[in-house]
Amino acid sequence: MLMAALLLAAGAARAQLTVEISGTGGNQIPIAIAPFPGESGLQPQITDIVEADLNRSGRFRTLYTGPQNLNETSAIDFGAWRSRNADALVAGGVYPAGPGRYEARFRLHDVPKQTQLGGLALTLTPQQARATGHRIADYVYEKLTGERGVFSTRIAYIVKQGPRYQLQIADSDGANPQTALASPEPIISPAWSPDGSRLAYVSFENKRPVVYVHSLATGQRQAVANFPGSNSAPAWSPDGRLLAVVLSREGGSQLFVMNADGSGVRRVTSSAAIDTEPTFSADGQTLYFTSDRGGSPQIYRVPVGGGTPQRVTFDGSYNVSPHLSPDGKLLAHITRQNGAFRVAVRDLATGQTQLVSDGPRDESPSFAPNGRMIVFASEVGGRGILQATSSDGRIRQRLTIPAADVREPAWGPFLNQ
């Protein structure tokens, strides 16, 4: 009945995230991106996307090049680029490659060493200009920082506009928002499957919270946890086979693990307290979760197969919403200090904790798949916005949608080409 009111929408939504950047990284790499001959017919232009991506990362400073007559085969006058303080240079071009297709080719140069670091040839349709820019930025980022770039990844989040809730997915720069689900009832806790093909989330369309798994390619969705009471807080195992969920079917809010199709439900924790917000460790063996079994909400960990939970956080009276970095070394969570909710990052090996956001109402931290950035929900002027911070707190980005609340971000995985 209520299902009839739900609408599965494809295509671009009207609202678009806009990104603002503040703060800068320590050592920014000065890089020149020469405009590609042949790209002027594309919208957007590929090198504009590469520049915007690298700038937004906070780890690069792009230099104005002016018009250049360079492409991937040009001999480079390294001395001239050196005098313009460029440490790196990207030169390439865009060439017709049959009907409706182009090929983008580029090379990346190390200016001080006067060497070539490599290059790529990418075929594209005109609609793929933006994606191609992201891929080139990913390549440059990885060559020069030694870490994988996340410019081609996506972020899922919930938009509340008036009485309507939408589950949207956008590129990591906020462009290209697509609506996967629209509903008159709340949607919370989106979680990406490790292969990026599906989202699990909680929907209230049936008068109580139910966990769904939603296939992004087909729009098909399945209620995988729909027991009497509340079903919530889905988290995927790293191999994508299991979902950890919170169920109240046996009383209270307790952790359960099930197969991703909802079969084979088994209980993990048995407490008289609240156990919620499970998240898998990188090796899939441990669940980190929030529990108030010690009197205040704190983060604990427990073997997925069950066992005695161990407490992880001790500072303060409110530590919730654990999320692990992909390498398993850092734990991001929300902590309350003087009434303000802020994102903290804990080094699990040393126990050292650093605050990386300012509050006062920050929620839902989620690591980028390279572990360098954390996206989280925040509030400015009474409106929900998304922010991203580098894991060390030095670089901040803001993603806002005019006239809407944005919340519950989840940064998607790397996609294999």
Partner: protein
């Protein structure tokens, strides 16, 4: 018994829960202590009108009137809680007793309790806080003689606030559990 199951299924449809709701029929059970003064259960034997019969329709309509009549204490459905608490305050005791009696005397009636929380902090933790309040209210109703199987407790967390300002009086309105009957779902 078949009739009971059929009735339960009909009520579940009425309740708008299509998949796995409170579909277990209210079983024929003598709870001993809670002897029903009137109504459908006597000494472990109950009579149930056929689903869709005039008698059943009349009975449900009478129930609906009772539950929505502003003069009836049963028209009040909300229990409010203190910060970070699931204790049912004394002032709500008469209300909880009235609904427990209503359920006890009508084993065919179903209730969905929706727990709520104010919006400070984590949405999922707040969902669990709302669940704790809904569970506490369910326990209280059961202690007062309602059959647990008549009641489903779930949480809306901070997602359906009655009041949206950032003030203590507003937060207090959102720390709440609501009792809904089948015809309201």
């Amino acid at each position: 018994m078949k009739l009971l199951i059929a009735l339960a299924a009909a009520l579940a449809v009425l309740a708008g829960c299509s998949s796995a709701p409170v579909t277990e029929g209210a079983p024929v059970e003598d709870r001993g202590a809670a002897a029903a003064p009137e109504g459908a259960t006597t000494g472990g034997v109950s009579t149930t009108p056929l689903p869709g019969s005039d008698l059943e329709r009349q009975r449900l309509e009478a129930d609906r009137k009772l539950l929505t009549d502003p003069a009836s204490p049963l028209s009040k459905r909300s229990v409010f809680f203190d910060f970070d608490s699931d204790r049912i305050r004394d002032e709500f005791r008469p209300l909880v007793e009235a609904h427990a009696k209503f359920l006890r005397e009508r084993p065919y009636q179903k209730m969905l309790i929706q727990g709520n929380a104010d919006d400070r902090g984590s949405r999922e933790y707040n969902l669990a806080l709302g669940q704790r309040r809904a569970d506490a209210l369910k326990r209280a109703l059961a202690l007062l003689g309602a059959n647990e199987k008549q009641i489903e407790s779930a949480s809306l967390g901070e997602e359906k606030p009655r009041c949206t300002e950032q003030t203590e009086s507003c937060w207090a309105q959102n720390r709440r559990a609501d009792m809904l009957y089948g015809f309201e779902l």
